[in-house]
Amino acid sequence: MTIAIGEARERVDAIAKVTGAATYSAEHQLDDVAFAVLVLSTVARGRIARIDDADARAVPGTLAVITHRNAPVLNGEITGRPGLDKHLLLLADDRIQFDRQPVAIVVAADLETAREAAALVRVEYASEPPIASVDDPRASWFFPKQTAHMEPPEIVRGDAASARAAAAVVVSATYTTPLENHNPIEPHASIAAWDGDRLTIYDATQGVFEERRKIAGVFGLPEDDVRIISPYVGGAFGNKGSVWYHQVFAAAAARIVDRPVKLVLDRDQMFAITGHRPHTRQTITFGADGDGTVTSFEHDVLATTSMFDVFTESAGEYTAMAYAFPNVIIRHRLVRTNFGTPTFMRAPGEATGTYALETALDELAEAVGIDPIALRLRNYAESDPNKEKPFSTKYLRECYARGAERFGWGARSRAPRSMRDGRELIGYGMAGGAYPAQIFDAAASVSMETDGRVTVRSGTQEIGQGTYTAIEQIAASELAIDPARVRLELGDTRYPRAMNSGGSTTIASVGSAVALACRDLARQLGGRSRPERRLSATATFTTPDDREGYSCYSFAAQFAEVGVDPDLRTVRVRRMFGVFDVGRVINARLAHSQFVGAMTMGIGMALFERTIVDPRTARIMNANLADYLLPTNADIGQIDAEALGIRDDIVNPIGTKPVGEIGICGAAAAVANAVYHATGRRIRDLPIGPRVLG
């Protein structure tokens, strides 16, 4: 009885989640827990002139107030993957470098006391005018050493300037995306507990092993003395993949008060100290023939980073590979600002790069008078023009065709403002997208008991993408057994090492390791259905050598229909459809949910989301969920998605390409292009809405 991979099996953790039984980080029950609350700076640049914590200390039940005057010395230099080193400003001195920088930790016996005392910590600042904009005269740009995926900051092919000079058609425009915040519904929360010199942290994290390594580094501990536990994560989208302030401060506080300490961030705190997608300003210039064949492509990406860390929102990585542009110059430049350090946010670089390029292509299509899909086909890249390798698989043409057919693209009349439904202006827009298939090393163990029960273990994470379900399905399929016999345990550094659940790598990496371990176990079973004694196998999966000669990407074609009220200028996405080339689909239901969820995030990106900063103070002024607008249920009309399901035999042993982030790639551009088609107004600064369409 074999359960096929691809079956839309119900999520195995669904019952735990609908009954409230699933335990998220702040919910683990420990004895004698104390509560920590952070005090954050109210200026973005300057120095702490004075801290008066006498009233805070006087509140009955306050256990400790930790400031730069009495904080333990901690190592705030966090080494990450190449180019991703980070500094945490761990109360080491009086310098303030971003709005809402931590300045004190207050610990108390209960939450209300901790909050009361935190409000009584009085801080005076000698503040300086902060850098809050890329246009600040003090802000000078620089090249990062490399992009997020270790490309050089400048990517050059051929001679773009000459080709542009000779081009029949030149189209150039500048597009901006604002600061954005991930805003998972679960706030970041850690419970830290010491047992002698051994530290356990219950956390909400995308990477228990990376967190263990980094926490060990901060506290100067052997990694074996640190354990991270994270069975369920209430959404992440990139901002739970790092060690930030709350984990460190929970652990530091726990050591000082000699009790376990729970630290749950407030929503407004999350905006500043758990990362964000930085602002980008992107200028794209095409030189093209009269038929739309692009001969020259220039893309300048200017993005923000913090005063003390480099993070590169690498929008040009997508534009370097997406189309067969022969002469190319792509530059990534950064400006230091008094914002916190940015981080990966769903499809980092791809989300912003697809927005700019896929909107620019829409403008080029109009300039030369051809259909947007036809333009993309005319510039189709049969192989990766940047890496100069063939794609392992690429079915983007099929995505365009299937999408156009299902969406009804043929009904689109080309001129803007040419379609209506009653009073409403209707627009159809489309866009393409791609997302790289990365592999992170992963290890997994599989064991089978004499009664046939199978336990899979891996130090990986469930952030909502369906790890529990998909991995159990893979194991069951490999062992040709009912998935009900398989149980995955994850989210604990006691299990085999796996990397972060980020970059849409979990199923591919952990799934491949699990598949390999299962194949070993199956060999040991030798055809029997149950073993005579407990059997186990362990496997590690790393990037396969035979993939080196290929470029591996998922691809997307996105189609959106918007309705715009011609007078009130409100924009609604009435319909959206995406077709995705993601290789083999492990579970159609999980994949569909990921696509729809990411497309929803793309609608938010296009129409609603921006983090608003007061330019005089660099203070975030909408650090809450009423003023930072996430899409509501009523904003999401009919969204549907389809995966082509054609397996890729090169990318990894289970034939899957990334699913979790491809859904946002091109989504914002499809919506923005639809708004243009509806209104004839081209807005190049996200988000687009009645304030700017008026």
């Binding site: 119900e10 679960e186 209430g234 959404g235 909502g464 569909h592 949910s593 969820g597 990411a598 249920n633």
Partner: protein, 162 residues
């Protein structure tokens, strides 16, 4: 249960909350929200804290049969009311129809907003706001889902509403 003197306002008072049909006694001061009483004092962590300011809906519970936000309700003010949380829905291992529909329609991903969505859905159905897809969408817009499970949530509610 009168506390006149603000200086003693920090003092915990003993109150009784009727949660999921059971009387629970606990000591709270006036500032403790119903959400924090559930999560931190009663170990009922099914109701979730998402924003603590009534902006996300993750803390939704039923109070005397009506869907409300427990993060903006003071625990002392909830004394005397019937409080129903997600933990009180399943009967003898049988899921509530809304819970079953959420599972069947994959109306969740990370699951953190899910208890609030379910409690809100039960309230929404009781309010008679499930006539069509658009009405459900509007009536459920007080529950944010960052994972973007909205179409499946609406499908589940339509299914459960029958």
């Amino acid at each position: 249960m009168i506390v006149e003197d603000p200086r003693s306002a920090r003092t915990a008072e003993r109150i009784t909350l009727r949660v999921n049909g059971t009387d629970r006694t606990l000591d709270v001061d006036a500032r403790v929200t119903l959400l924090d009483a559930l999560r931190e004092r009663l170990a009922l962590t099914g109701s979730k804290k998402g924003c603590d300011h009534g902006q996300c809906g993750a803390c939704t519970v039923l109070l005397d049969g009506r869907r409300v936000l427990s993060c903006l309700t003071l625990a002392v003010a909830a004394e005397g009311a019937e409080i129903l949380t997600v933990e009180g829905l399943a009967r003898e291992g049988e899921l509530h129809p809304v819970q079953r529909a959420f599972v069947a329609c994959d109306a969740l991903q990370c699951g953190y907003c899910t208890p609030g969505q379910i409690m809100s859905a039960i309230g929404c159905i009781a309010e008679g706001r499930t006539g069509d897809d658009a009405e459900i969408a509007e009536a459920m817009s007080g529950n944010l889902c960052r994972c973007g499970a909205y179409p499946m949530i609406r499908e589940a509610i339509a299914r459960a509403a029958g």
